[in-house]
């Protein structure tokens, strides 16, 4: 177990996690970098329920290649097989040659993506909180998946359905709405999913 970081949620709960997990957040990373005797970072904008979800995500991602990373950039230390000898590459180009042809790396990333998709296949309320948390804490992978989760909820729905899902009010005047609909006459059925 490496060095740990203590995080305090908005409602006062303390979470102790490994650096590798907490440092998925660029904000936490930069706060911890400064000389901090207590090693305790307060996160008043994130409550414990959300923070625990965020940390669950970060724990899963801590020692895996990012879903963003092109396969060519995955360093061999992150390979599940830890086998840097793919295609007889020389040591100087071991990183890129390794993961381009390494089946284990490819499978690991695909598995992670699957896990992520399940993770965000939840209610929009949670996605909403995760988006805010990922934005505030600057966690790239979580942002990416939460965005995808929200986009998935939108796709294929008409405006009224979207309003219901996201609990939004229609603040257009009837005249405005009529004008907009006139503009959008290109689709035979604008609201057909």
């Amino acid at each position: 177990m490496g060095k740990t970081i203590k995080l305090i949620s908005g409602d006062g709960e303390m979470f102790e996690v490994e650096e590798a997990v907490a440092f998925q957040s660029n904000i936490i990373k930069s706060l911890a970098d400064e000389d901090n005797a207590d090693d305790c970072i307060p996160l008043p904008r994130v409550d414990s329920q959300i923070l625990s979800k965020v940390l669950e995500f970060c724990r899963k991602h801590a020692n895996s290649p990012s879903v963003h990373t092109k396969f060519a950039a995955i360093p061999s230390e992150l390979c599940p097989k830890h086998d840097g000898s793919a295609a007889g590459a020389s040591s100087s180009e071991s990183s890129s040659a390794h993961s381009e042809t390494c089946r284990a790396c490819y499978d690991a990333v695909m598995k992670l993506v699957q896990w992520d998709l399940e993770f965000v296949k939840v209610d929009l309320d949670l996605i909403h909180h995760l988006l805010k948390a990922a934005n505030y804490l600057d966690i790239e992978d979580l942002m990416f998946m939460a965005v995808e989760g929200a986009a998935n909820a939108i796709r294929g729905n008409n405006p009224e359905e979207i309003r219901k899902l996201f609990d939004l009010e229609n603040d257009f005047t009837p005249e405005e709405e009529k004008e907009i609909l006139k503009e959008y006459s290109w689709l035979d059925d604008p609201f057909e999913p």
Binding site: G10, L31, E34, D35, N36, A37, D38, C40, I41, P42, L43, P44, R45, D47, L124, D125, H128, L131, K132, N135, M143, V147, E148, A150, A151, I154, R155, G156, N157, N158, P159, I162, R163, F166, D167, L168, E169, N170, D171, F172, E177, I180, L181, E183, Y184, W186, L187, D188, P190, F191
Partner: protein
């Protein structure tokens, strides 16, 4: 130090921090979500409420409209304009452009079309009116556009900096109009053939041109020398995989497979001189097989989109117009 940090963070606390309402979601987060949707999926989003409608037209989503997956349904003919496009294809293009123009609210700065997308003056007119801030245009098919139509569009696109165009017989009118209307114009890519007439038009009307790519074209040696001699402001020249034609004393022309020293010497003042005339290069081999007029349709979909000059390369298609859109539009054609 710790106390200071806490105070800073507390100052940022939103009194409704644990609020559930999506209305409070920051625009930049909304924009990131909407960027994952194609333009058909974006349409209902823009009807949800005011803040969402605004976020839908954000430049982050619309700065590039890449219609590289859209082709016309066409056949080649023996008479001008050598292309016949069916009406449904034209109507389909109109619908897509109307959608894009309405949603983007004039925020498009780069427009990309396929080399088999044969638009008409009316389409060009429509997009130049509603997207006046275009800085980069990639439009390799001009068969059905008239000179007047093209000139009118260029006149509206004062911010135009970069153009990818097909080789045309008499390019001077275009170069003239660009020099008149587009003060920041600096990047040109020509696809097809490049002779000394074309070179002289560019040298005369676009002396400030910085970047020129002729990759995968037939270029006469005269034209190349003209460019190297006259275009003193040119910083980047790309003649990769070009077939270099040289006129012999006998009047015949032959393909030069190598560049000679004078060319390298003249090119030395430029920042980047990109060339590739190699029998082991796939692109070069294809040029030879196709006798200089690259038949792009025979090769990978991304092949024509490449360029060794990064500012002229096209990269991935983006989300706005994806395969989903193509299928959806094709299937709804039946209702017409």
């Amino acid at each position: 130090m710790f106390l200071f940090q806490t105070l800073e963070l507390l100052r940022m606390v939103d009194t409704k921090a644990i609020g559930k309402r999506w209305e409070e979601m920051e625009t930049d987060v909304l924009v990131k979500i909407f960027k994952e949707l194609n333009m058909i999926q974006l349409t209902p989003v823009s009807l949800v409420c005011r803040s969402w409608r605004l976020a839908c037209s954000d430049p982050f989503i619309w700065n590039t409209l890449d219609l590289g997956l859209l082709e016309s349904n066409f056949i080649q003919t023996r008479a001008l304009p050598f292309i016949w496009v069916d009406e449904r294809s034209d109507r389909r293009l109109t619908r897509i452009l109307r959608m894009a123009m309405a949603l983007s609210c004039g925020n498009i700065t780069t427009m990309i079309f396929h080399f088999n997308l044969y638009m008409k003056d009316e389409h060009l007119n429509y997009i130049s009116e509603r997207s006046p801030h275009v800085r980069r245009l990639v439009m390799p098919a001009w068969n059905r556009i008239t000179r007047v139509g093209l000139v009118q569009a260029i006149r509206r696109w004062e911010d135009l900096e970069s153009l990818t165009m097909p080789s045309i017989g008499h390019p001077s009118y275009i170069m003239e109009e660009i020099s008149r209307s587009c003060k920041n114009f600096s990047h040109l890519k020509v696809m097809g053939t490049f002779d000394v007439h074309f070179a002289s038009c560019i040298a005369m009307h676009l002396p400030k041109l910085k970047v020129l790519s002729l990759r995968c074209s037939i270029v006469t040696k005269e034209a190349l020398l003209f460019i190297l001699n006259c275009m003193v402001n040119l910083e980047v020249l790309n003649i990769s995989h070009c077939l270099l034609l040289e006129s012999l004393v006998s009047g015949r022309r032959q393909i030069r497979s190598e560049l000679d020293q004078t060319i390298f010497q003249k090119a030395s003042h430029m920042r980047d001189f990109l060339y590739c005339q190699s029998s082991s290069c796939i692109a070069c081999r294809r040029m030879i097989e196709d006798e200089g007029l690259m038949r792009w349709y025979r090769y990978e979909a991304w092949f024509w989109r490449q360029d060794e000059v990064s500012s002229l390369d096209l990269g991935e298609y983006g989300r706005l117009f994806d395969k989903n859109c193509v299928d959806r539009l094709l299937s709804s054609d039946i209702n017409f």
